[in-house]
Symmetry: C2
Subunit: 191 residues, 2 copies
Amino acid sequence: MSIQARRERERAEREKLIITAACELAEAEGWEAVTTRRLAERIEYSQPVLYSHFKGKGAIMAAVAVEGCVILADELRAARTAAPDAGSALAAVGAAYTAFAERRPALYDVIFSQNVDLPFATPEAPAALHAAFGELVEGLRPHAGDGEDLGLLTETYWAALHGLVTLMRGKRLPAEQHERRLELLLKRFAA
Amino acid sequence: MSIQARRERERAEREKLIITAACELAEAEGWEAVTTRRLAERIEYSQPVLYSHFKGKGAIMAAVAVEGCVILADELRAARTAAPDAGSALAAVGAAYTAFAERRPALYDVIFSQNVDLPFATPEAPAALHAAFGELVEGLRPHAGDGEDLGLLTETYWAALHGLVTLMRGKRLPAEQHERRLELLLKRFAA
DNA sequence: TCCGAGAGCTAGCGTTGCTAGGAACGAGGA
DNA sequence: TCCTCGTTCCTAGCAACGCTAGCTCTCGGA
């Protein structure tokens, strides 16, 4: 029985190892550099071992995405609660969001841009993702107009942040004016 | 001399053929289905012929993107000039933009999401892309506040549209509420 | 009629994600 | 103590990918 337990524990540890290795590799060299062979080499096991833990590369990316949601939610909450007043919380959360995207692009991409077979716009989505969205909701709550759906308003604000971030990372928008665009966006959403 | 001319004409036609084949294939089955082998089969030439026209698959995608910019610019201009008044032009352009993204997702992706080695946020960017951006600028002009940079405001509005579109296509936002989110965005940008 | 340039083909390289099949290890029973 | 059987993990390989080397064959020009 305890042998079984040890095996399961070791297996869980190795699974964690795969996820962190994939995350590190992606952040260091981008997702296109994350191949199953390099990943296997990094965890010092053979390639097929990955497939005994995950259905495929996509499932590994999904696992990294779930971990990433936790980090993002933490950072957004920290930013919001550290804001001096409710009025500046929106700006704080927005800045934290784009900072996360800039600082951890691979993590951001796998959560919000890549196709990773995870439930998103449903209750089954990762709890941390709902938590992250909740931080945006709280940031916007004081600025929702009468009769405005707070959830929809948050989705729209979130989409704007996402657009700024992805267009910038894809070189469609010059990075140097990012702060001023963020400022403009805030002015439009702070009613 | 005329032989030379005929050859160059045929070559140009074949190049066009490659681009339209890539575009059609991408729109029918997505860019991941566009392989050099399938493309070659489709144009009824062997694979290496593609490389005598384009440096690689990326260059083919870039060519498709340039074509796509022309279509997008046309549709945005049509929407804006058909708007009854300057006040509704912003809504018209925004709706036309997201409609384009929804109707021609492969084209939209290659222009705005994929990595395609094209100059974007510079004067060397495709002229049609500047034209498309110009339509957004004109839509926003009546709504720019005093001291607001119209260019930056347009970039921000554009980013918001882009975010709505990409999050929806990536299943991060439910499609059914799209119209209401667009409405909310418009209300915030129509000063 | 012959030659040479060039266009386009076949074949193949290295890499990708993923899988089949066998070897080796280790727990449990005789 | 030894055998057996199940599990774990590795070697090897498949099909498909982007891309390229090198040969063939056509065809315009002398």
